[in-house]
Symmetry: C2
Subunit: 149 residues, 2 copies
DNA sequence: GCAGCATGGTTACCATGCTAACTAAGCCTG
DNA sequence: CAGGCTTAGTTAGCATGGTAACCATGCTGC
């Protein structure tokens, strides 16, 4: 996360460019703004999720499972791939989400190593509960605080 | 961090909008891209820093201390404020950075509670070593992977 | 068909962030 | 100047991320 409140001024970047002329003041300036904006938005979303006993990762697991439709599911491995997170954290997060009743974990029929993950009705409902405000947090942030991007 | 590889398609957002018309497909779509791009860039920067025994937070502490100029310094409290991170993590991070020889921690002359933090020469050098590639990672990312922002 | 490699998942351990509760020092008010 | 509030920093405990090393199962090629 990147929470530096005072980004380097244009002047500071210009000075820096004198030493390293291959750098573009505009691009680096935009990159720093990107990092700061996203960090603020991420923090806001995490705070919102905390009130629903969710986290960014738990939420995204609900999303990818929901995309498989009713009756569909995914292997733990596939979830790690779609979310680009490490397998151990998938194991942990799935375990806690199972305890919360959001999903089920079954041994896979064809492959004794794999686990078959499906959403429960409660999981699907949870996602439906959380989505509107999730989108609205992003919507409001983009409208009111990130116009200059 | 937000690492969902396949962002919701425009179609999915349109469908969602039918239920919640106050949402803007464009703004939410842009917000999701913002989150994903920044997460990728953040991860890349953290990987780079790891090779220098730094982290985003350690690096930003070097930056704000360097801004105070030679002979200048900051209170731990001020660092927490400028970086927008919690005081406990400042305590921890400063301790490890002191052990690395990047900065000094002295009791403050006028206030027995406060700690006065200054960069060492090694700290200033470390920042100088790391900055060019830091900017160049951001520069390249913005040019090659985030044009559509 | 069994030895050895590949693959899915888990365990153990570490780093980094948070909040809550604590200590110690400064200040302020009766 | 004593009691109580405020402030700076630390400690303790939790959550979430990562990598490395480890099982257990599946696959492959001699």
């Amino acid at each position: 996360m990147f929470f530096l409140k005072d980004l380097p001024s244009r002047q500071m970047l210009e000075n820096y460019k004198k030493r390293f002329p291959e750098m573009s003041v505009d691009h680096v300036g935009a990159g720093l703004k990107l990092l700061r904006h996203a960090s603020i938005l991420l923090r806001r979303i995490e705070t919102y999720f905390a009130g629903h006993k969710l986290s960014q990762t738990r939420f995204l697991i609900l999303v990818v499972l929901d995309r498989e439709g009713k009756g569909g599911g995914l292997l733990a491995k596939e979830i790690a791939g779609k979310l680009d997170i490490s397998r151990p954290i998938v194991t942990n997060t799935l375990k806690s989400m199972k305890e919360m009743g959001l999903l089920t974990i079954c041994p896979h029929a064809d492959d004794g190593r794999a686990k078959w993950i499906t959403l429960t009705e409660a999981g699907r409902e949870k996602l439906g509960t959380v989505l509107p405000d999730y989108y609205s947090i992003i919507h409001n942030f983009m409208i009111h605080e990130a116009e200059e991007l």
